[in-house]
Symmetry: none
Subunit: 213 residues, 4 copies
DNA sequence: TATGAATGAGAATTCATTCAT
DNA sequence: TATGAATGAATTCTCATTCAT
């Protein structure tokens, strides 16, 4: 009888264990020995699940990118006013901020360790996926979703670079405030970016489905 | 001792040559041999100017951080309306965006390669310096300057991760727009964040000097 | 205990499966995993039949060495003229050339992986066994049998190193020709190597038995 | 001033030092550490001269193959009777027998470690070069040169497998004898392989030049 | 100062072997 | 017996740093 192990499931567990380690110290600054130790297995076993060190990073990036968004999808509601929806979303973001930060650092390691167009494309898909989902769930025009995502990315970067240097809550409240004011303004017939409409209208959009990764 | 001047000047030249290499491939992914080759000198000569590899990163971070801000100071005007000033500033930002991106990536390498409170402090000073200068020159309350800086950081991150994935001009215009609307709203007596006032008033601020690094 | 017979029989089957793999890629260049895969069993099962990797090589060398010679014995006739006998023998050789080639390469791996006098002795016994049998069946003086064996060894080496680089048939015909001429010459009273006589005389040699391995 | 080292010359020296080691223990059974130790340098320095372990084997095979033949060319005379020439040649062979043995073993490691057509081609060129040169200097038809080379290869193989198991001198004398008899026979009008003529005629062949490698 | 060969500790990776099932 | 996951010592290779010139 062979030892019963769900190979793929276990591999994902191992990936999870690498997440913090990689983002914390940086992919290049972690040795396979350290990884194995952190995961509580031998280097040989590590290579049983991942053919190369690089493959850990690649799979980790793919896996965590997908996982985060999936959780985001579940946490977000499509109903309610814009204020309610953005409130929920920012709560979710604050709860997951640390994970986003790790992904941000990981994404840099990922593209740097490859230096190919392919890797850039993968990174881009990951980013786009976030933004598109934000646009859909918050019912924002893509340009505004991009604006928001960009800001959140900047927030996450700062908080990772110097943890505690900024007040997440304050900045997120400000973001909400700024968006509400700006989008409120644009509800007026005098709004300048008319192509950004309609949004914030509370119509039932049955076609609003999750964007495929 | 003109020798020392030459020596230091040359060292700064060498630092400049490392900037792209480091931010592009990542500090850990570049070998001393590669650095020497890029700079057109031997590894021995490289060690003549820098005692360790780490010292290159450290000096590079210090040097480039200072240099960027200095240039920013010269490029920004204190006079004119807020719209004019922010326009000038964003022009400057767009011109320097690539350098900011490199610094952003460098900052991550910097804190990771040290992983000490000290390094975090250094990185924080660098960030704060930017933000304070922005607050001063744009006459923004620090929270708004932080907001702007955060957004710009996010922009720079995205553009480095996947160059060309976003339209810098579009997003910067949007930022300007958003800020104008938001700040305009707050000039009204009904503004909600009264603690953010006064700003955009064109009084002579004698205390508005460059913030010391 | 029929189990043991099965066990041993199966082990010999497994040995046979290793023959090509070892001689082709070289003992050191084949991993236990590759061997197991080639044999269609797990590494665990492989270790059930062979305590170590080295033991596979050892048993393989012993087993194949014995097997080849046994087959040679059966294929060769003691009767007929020298020309007939050498013709039969060379036919047999051509049919088995590939197996001889594998053994030749294996023999090198064998002595190298041991590097002891003992291993050399084993290899020598294997070689000698061939030569002695050749001498007996072809009724050649040992020096001539050695000559022939040496030539055949060289042939096999070349054909293994660069398969198809030589015409086996041509060279074997030439060998036969050369031997016939040379031995014919020596039948004359003027032959120079009188110590090589008598041979090719068709006397009944009761002592002509298979040489014990 | 850089350390003055003739890089290529030194590399060839290092190659020479690997020759015995490789052929003795086998390429795969020697570690880079052992090689470095044998050569009296550090592993780092070893990698300064050879990018990979495989490259050592490759370069060694190329270099020694060429070197041996060059020496053979110098040692062999074009003049004199066939008996004289073959005598000289076999003397040279006996003197170099050990080196040939090493090359033989090396050639096996070489093709085994590559397993590509290219490697086989390289090995074939090496073999062919020997044979062609033998044909030229001994003025033998290529088939007879092949015959001789094959025999010598077999001799070398046996002597490497079990050093001292055969009497080189005896077997070489026998080879000479056999060849003389066989070729003498073929000088007669009744010779069967008439296409093998003319040889052993002592004409001045100005066009007899070394075969290009 | 400059060169680039040399060093050797340490990194990624391999693989014979063991062991829980 | 059979499986294949797990082990960890050993291997190939890298690279910051030193040093002879």
């Amino acid at each position: 009888m062979p030892k019963i192990v769900d190979h793929d499931k276990y591999r994902e567990e191992l990936l999870g264990g690498c997440f913090e380690l990689f983002s914390d110290k940086g992919y290049s600054n972690v040795t396979m020995r350290q990884i194995a130790k952190e995961l509580g297995i031998s280097t040989g076993a590590l290579y049983h699940y991942f053919p190369t060190k690089q493959s850990i990073l690649d799979q980790l990036f793919q896996y965590m990118g997908k996982k985060d968004v999936e959780e985001g999808v579940q946490a977000t509601s499509l109903s309610g006013s814009f204020e309610e929806r953005i409130g929920l979303f920012l709560d979710f973001f604050r709860a997951k901020e640390s994970a986003f930060g790790k992904m941000l650092l990981l994404s840099i390691d990922f593209v740097r360790s490859h230096d190919t167009m392919e890797a850039r494309q993968t990174a881009r898909q990951w980013l786009d996926y976030y933004i598109r989902n934000m646009a859909v769930y918050l019912r924002l025009p893509s340009q505004m979703a991009e604006f928001m995502a960009t800001f959140l990315g900047g927030l996450v970067y700062q908080n990772r670079l110097v943890p505690g240097s900024i007040s997440l809550r304050e900045q997120l409240d400000l973001l909400k405030d700024v968006l509400m004011v700006y989008l409120g303004e644009h509800e007026n017939p005098k709004n300048r970016l008319c192509n950004l409409c309609p949004f914030m209208t509370d119509h039932n959009s049955t076609e609003t489905e999750e964007v495929s990764y």
